[in-house]
């Protein structure tokens, strides 16, 4: 097991290196000059030139790449051109908000998707199946910003239940406060801020996962061992849950893992609509300012997380299906 994890972690190095180089090249190939965005419209060409020199942007691209990689292997992600703060500090300050959002979105997605997927597989071609699949289709096709707006108008403006934007206290902190004080106020307040963005973000993933659960369940339900279990007189509830669903889980876990990665990246739009102070908004702002070090650093951190999630998913396989472990 440890060798497997070790091997996988080693494999990460070339992957992350490749991503870094790719992001670096892409950013430097698109037009737009950080010096110009830093100085604003009224800058003179001489000012722009001077700042380019200071930022090292006048060096040949391969020299800039070399410097970037050299700093990277030393664990130095650079300093934000605009905010003059180390990129790592900036990314780490915004990451918890995104993780919190993506995690709750995933929980919501799974809570919606698993029952819907199971029901539509068990009751295939019934109205329940059609309704579930209609919502799944709707969830996939609906633009995230539009759903977000609708939720804000309904639940914040009209009903005034949830705040329309922003983030309350970090969820972990609120939990600790609640446990210490015995007052649920803290955790509920944090949830109030989290619920609309998480729902917005979760609905799209729920749609994908529902479809996966359905097709995976349909496949398993046709297996012989299901018929055997039924013939043995096991109650159909347990057949579905223990015999069918457990075996249908493997592809579902893959897609849930992938969805978590997607949620980290997909949070960009949701974070903008809900003014959620996460890494997605950090990237968007950094791209529009051509703040190269921040974009590079943020993408690298997201890539690292994505890779770790994949590793965890692989380990989970082994946990669910011992056959994989022995292989």
């Amino acid at each position: 097991m440890m060798t497997f994890v070790g091997k996988r972690l080693l494999q990460l190095i070339p992957v992350l290196l490749g991503i870094s180089i790719l992001v670096f090249l892409l950013l430097h190939l698109i037009p737009g000059d950080p010096a110009l965005t830093l100085l604003g419209q009224e800058a003179t060409p001489e000012d722009v030139e001077r700042i380019r020199e200071i930022l090292g942007l006048n060096e040949p691209l391969y020299v800039q790449l070399f410097v970037f990689l050299k700093n990277l292997v030393q664990g130095d992600l650079g300093v934000s051109i605009f905010q003059d703060v180390p990129v790592l500090t900036l990314v780490l300050s915004q990451l918890p908000a995104t993780l919190e959002l993506a995690f709750l979105a995933l929980v919501i997605a799974v809570i919606i998707a698993v029952p819907l997927g199971i029901i539509s597989a068990v009751k295939q071609f019934s109205w329940l199946d059609y309704v579930s699949m209609f919502f799944a289709q709707l969830g996939v096709s609906m633009p995230v910003f539009w759903l977000g707006m609708l939720l804000i108008i309904q639940f914040s403006v009209n009903m005034n239940i949830f705040p329309s934007f922003g983030r309350g206290d970090p969820l972990v902190e609120s939990f600790i406060m609640t446990i210490q004080s015995g007052n649920l106020y803290y955790v509920i307040e944090s949830f109030k801020y989290l619920i609309l963005p998480a729902l917005t973000l979760g609905v799209m993933s729920a749609a994908m996962i529902t479809r996966m659960v359905r097709s995976s369940m349909l496949e398993v339900l046709n297996e012989d061992y299901i018929r055997t279990a039924e013939a043995k007189g096991v109650r159909s509830f347990w057949v579905i849950l223990k015999h069918a669903f457990r075996n249908a889980l493997i592809p579902v876990i893959t897609i849930v893992g992938l969805q978590f990665g997607n949620l980290l990246g997909g949070a960009i739009v949701t974070e903008t609509v809900f003014g959620w102070p996460g890494i997605g908004r950090l990237i968007i702002t950094a791209i529009s300012q051509r703040d190269f070090p921040v974009v590079q650093g943020s993408v690298l951190v997201i890539a690292l997380l994505f890779a770790i999630i994949n590793l965890v998913v692989d380990l989970l396989y082994a946990l669910i299906n011992p056959k994989i472990k022995s292989n």
């Binding site: 737009g32 000059d33 110009l36 001489e46 605009f82 905010q83 015995g182 649920l184 903008t272 702002t285």
Partner: protein, 533 residues
């Protein structure tokens, strides 16, 4: 066994939850105070201790010398004072300087306010003023607005309360630019601290900044201008225009202002719960013609194109009256404003006449004007962040194409678009200018030959002469004449086609009283505002 463990967990959880209370710790602690007040027979209305403001972007550097985004300016207005402050008519009024004199054309002497302290308790002195401008003038410091201060040769400390500005040449606009915040030398010397922890002499202190989320301020009780009425102000960062207005409607914020979407404004105007105030902003939106383009270098073509632009349609249909039809680079909010400039009213027939005079006609019947076998083909470009500007270029594409000008639309995000402007790599660019606190700011960098922001490479010796003169002459009446003449020339020659004078709009809770809007969008006025419940 497994089931039993789960059951145990579940019951433990339920017991814990059931044992928890639910009450707002803040309201619980403040309740006795309120009942006390009532007991003393005070009126039913109470004043909120916080005003919540929704802003569109987070601040970059909060150091006034390095600040360049609008949110950093909003922070600066609360935390810092300049030597002067511009009033709603953009005239300089005393702030940290109580008076000033101009003994000769290149010398300004400022008398500083006494007994002013920075928010850390240290006294404000002439040394701080000198340090602030010395650092701005140091090219290595990378101050974004260095060019506005370049005519300053040196700043001398005469004594603790007097400073002397020595200029390289007469520079009349100087006072308009001296509203920049004065930084405390004793802190700024330690390095780049003020970018994230600003300390000034202003009415509010910044207490904390959660990046991308909120900036919190607390009243500076020792403020020389009197303690602010509301103890706290919070700026919330809400990037999406519609969400920001929704936050106002839901009561999550009390105040929002431009940039806003026209559709949201008309909705809020119909709602009695809010006040909507409008004024002319310090900006205009314009078409920038590239004189290096062979076709556009002919003034007749530029005039013909101007006759194809229906500014009323743009103002009414796209902006729903938020921005008004424009004429020249001298905006209505400016003291130098004039209505008396050449105007190219919407008239496609007149445009066709001018095209014909310039030799462009549709000789081959393909619907596109041509001359010497070359088609009249142009690209209209703008940036993708502003949906209204995209609508303008699409509208213009339609108008231009109808009379036979082959028009391509190009929209790119701001960094790409602005680079193409700087490099002169465009035909007609739709762009805007903000913060035009005086006519020099609106014209010098834009129309002076070879100036950095003269993207279209417009050049006219008379205009250069006038713009130089406008900087040297100190009499405002004479300056007005100078800038008006320059504005007439650049409008006649269509260096720019000014489409819109931008409007500034503030929308806020109807119970917010005492706030006066300012054309720069300044929130300094919040120090006199209070929100009654």
């Amino acid at each position: 066994m497994k089931k039993l463990v789960w059951l145990l967990f579940l019951s433990l959880f339920l017991v814990l939850v059931a044992g928890c209370s639910y009450e707002n710790p803040e309201s619980a602690s403040s309740e006795p105070e309120q009942s006390g007040e009532e007991g003393e027979g005070t009126s039913d209305t109470s004043t909120a201790d916080i005003i919540k403001v929704g802003l569109d972007v987070d601040a970059g550097s909060m150091d006034p010398r390095l600040a360049k985004d609008t949110s950093a300016a909003r922070v600066e207005e609360l935390v810092y004072d300049g030597l002067v402050r511009l009033n709603a008519n953009l005239e300089p009024e005393p702030a940290l300087a109580t008076e000033w004199e101009n003994p000769d054309e290149t010398t300004w002497i400022f008398t500083l306010r006494e007994d002013v302290t920075f928010q850390d308790g240290e006294p404000f002195t002439a040394e701080d003023v000198k340090y602030t401008f010395d650092t701005i003038l140091d090219p290595d410091f990378q101050a974004p607005y260095l060019s506005l201060y370049e005519p300053i040769k040196s700043v001398e400390v005469i004594d603790e309360t007097h400073v002397k500005f020595n200029l390289k040449e007469p520079y009349a606009p100087l006072l308009s630019y001296l509203d920049i915040g004065i930084v405390p030398k004793h802190i700024a010397e330690k390095g780049d601290v003020l970018s994230s922890e600003p300390v000034g002499t202003g009415p509010y202190k910044m207490v904390n900044w959660e990046k991308n989320n909120q900036i919190n301020f607390e009243a500076n009780e020792d403020y020389w201008g009197g303690t602010p009425k509301t103890p706290k102000i919070t700026y919330f960062i809400i990037p999406d225009n519609t969400t920001r207005v929704a936050a106002l409607e839901s009561g999550d914020v009390d105040f929002v202002h431009s940039p806003l979407s026209p559709q949201d404004i008309s909705r809020i105007e119909k709602n009695d719960e809010f006040k909507v105030e409008k004024t002319q902003a310090l900006g205009f939106t314009y078409l920038n013609y590239n004189m290096k383009n062979e076709i556009l270098s002919d003034v007749k073509i530029r005039q013909a194109l101007s006759h194809l632009v229906n500014k009323n349609v743009i103002s009414e249909e796209i902006y729903q009256g938020m921005d008004s039809p424009g004429k020249s680079p001298l905006i209505p909010a400016s003291w130098a404003y004039t209505d008396n400039v050449p105007e190219f009213e919407y008239d496609p027939d007149k445009a066709l006449e001018l095209f014909a005079e310039a030799g462009w006609e549709d000789t081959d019947g393909d619907g596109i004007l041509d001359k010497d076998g070359k088609k009249l083909s142009l690209t209209l470009s703008t940036h993708s962040e502003d949906p209204n500007r995209i609508q303008i270029v699409e509208y213009l594409q339609n108008e231009f194409t109808q009379v036979g000008v082959e028009t391509e639309v190009l929209t790119n995000e701001w960094p790409t678009f602005s680079t193409s402007l700087m490099e002169g790599n465009f035909d007609i660019g739709l762009v805007g200018w903000l913060n035009l606190v005086g006519p020099d700011r609106a014209m010098y960098n834009q129309f002076y030959s070879d100036s950095g922001s003269n993207y279209g490479k417009y050049s006219n010796a008379r205009v250069d002469e006038l713009l130089e003169k406008g900087r040297r002459v100190s009499d405002q009446a004479e300056r007005t004449k100078i800038y008006q003449e320059a504005a007439k020339i650049v409008t006649e020659e269509v260096a720019y086609d000014v489409l819109l004078y931008q409007g500034y709009i503030a929308m806020y809770d109807k119970n917010l009283n005492g706030f006066e809007i300012h054309p720069t969008g300044s929130l300094y006025g919040l120090k006199d505002a209070e929100l009654t419940n």
